[in-house]
């Protein structure tokens, strides 16, 4: 018959003393069978604080993005008050080459409730599509000058959809966004 290894090392009397020892030891060390309510509450507060910290970090992150978007829009707003239009580029664009932007071959006219906001959406999409874009604000209209669109380039499809162009569209485009 297999021995019950865990049971017969100590006599009943010996186990009695050991059990009493451990009962007192656990009491001395503050060990309880169940978690006291005060500790549960304390832990809940720490969990809540961790949640709030994460939410704050997320909100602050969004605030940074909003501030950056705001910085672009300030540049465009300023352009509406000066005689010469202000150019905002999505890529590093030297002033010498800006003269080459005159009269690109294809023009797309769009209307939007907010030409400025839509222009930024196009600029964002051009970044994702790896297309050079130049934003020019003048009066209440915004021009987005796009260079070197490529036919059937998958990464440019989303951008072309915004401009109501087919996937086969290629070359340079000037998008003029007017208010509705």
């Amino acid at each position: 018959m297999e021995k019950n290894l865990a049971d017969n090392t100590f006599s009943a009397n010996q186990e009695r003393y050991l059990r009493e020892y451990f009962a007192q030891l656990d009491k001395q060390l503050g060990i309880a069978k169940q978690t006291p309510e005060c500790l549960n509450n304390q832990f809940s507060r720490k969990l809540e604080a961790l949640n709030n910290k994460r939410a704050k970090f997320f909100l602050e992150g969004r605030a940074v993005i909003a501030a950056l978007a705001g910085a672009f829009s300030i540049g465009l707003l300023f352009s509406q008050f000066v005689l010469m239009p202000t150019a905002i580029t999505t890529r590093g664009y030297s002033s010498e080459s800006s003269e080459a932007i005159i009269s690109p071959p294809k023009v797309v006219s769009l209307r939007s409730e907010s030409p400025k906001d839509y222009a930024f959406k196009i600029a964002n999409a051009s970044l994702d599509a790896d297309v050079e874009a130049l934003l020019v604000g003048s009066g209440n209209k915004v021009q987005v000058i796009l260079h070197s669109l490529r036919a059937n380039a998958e990464e440019q499809n989303e951008l072309k959809k915004m401009l109501h162009l087919s996937n086969e569209a290629s070359g340079d485009y000037t998008v003029i966004i007017s208010p509705r």
Binding site: L5, A6, N8, T9, F10, S11, N13, Q14, E15, R16, Y17, L18, R19, E20, Y21, F22, A23, Q24, L25, D26, Q28, L29, G30, I31, A32, K33, Q34, T35, L39, N40, Q42, F43, S44, K46, L47, E48, L50, N51
Partner: protein, 203 residues
Amino acid sequence: MYMLSAVELNSLFKDLSGGVAAKSRAVGSIYSKLSPILFKKMRYRYRALSESDVHDILQDAFLKIYSSKSLPKSAEAIPSWVFVIVENAALDLFRKAYKKNELDWPQDSEGNSLEEIEVADQACSIASSHLNREVEDCVSKGMAKFSRLHPERELAISMSLDGSSIAEIAGVFRRTDAAMKQYIHESKKKLAPFIEHCIGELA
């Protein structure tokens, strides 16, 4: 003792994969259910720190479950998954606390001779009116020596005597049931020389 029912485990498993509120609720519930046994395990080992310090470290370690991107493989695996995360997180925190307080890191020094160990100052004195006081003191002193050498074995014996099942103890020690049974038997054999002179010959 700490074992969760299948219904509780399934509910926790679902919530852990849920949104922020569900996960938060699950972690709070897990803390409530599993912290007592983990506190006992840590308290037996890290006695140089205060009770409140150990509670703080344990709570901070439980918060790692919430921050962790890992999930348990199944509902049944939740307790072992919790033990791994909490104990690993707590180990770092305990090391820092011991270093900060300039305390000697506890060692489970298997094989040290009895003569090398001094009687611990913090020997727990048991005082029960129905037991022989001299025997109690003798047992306390013997246990104090044993616990300094083998805090984990002391915990295993304690759990086996307080009615925990082999499966529960095996979960805490992350061993199979058979290995745990063997470990408890060997631990009692190791304990015997420390107290046999107090209570007469062992069975």
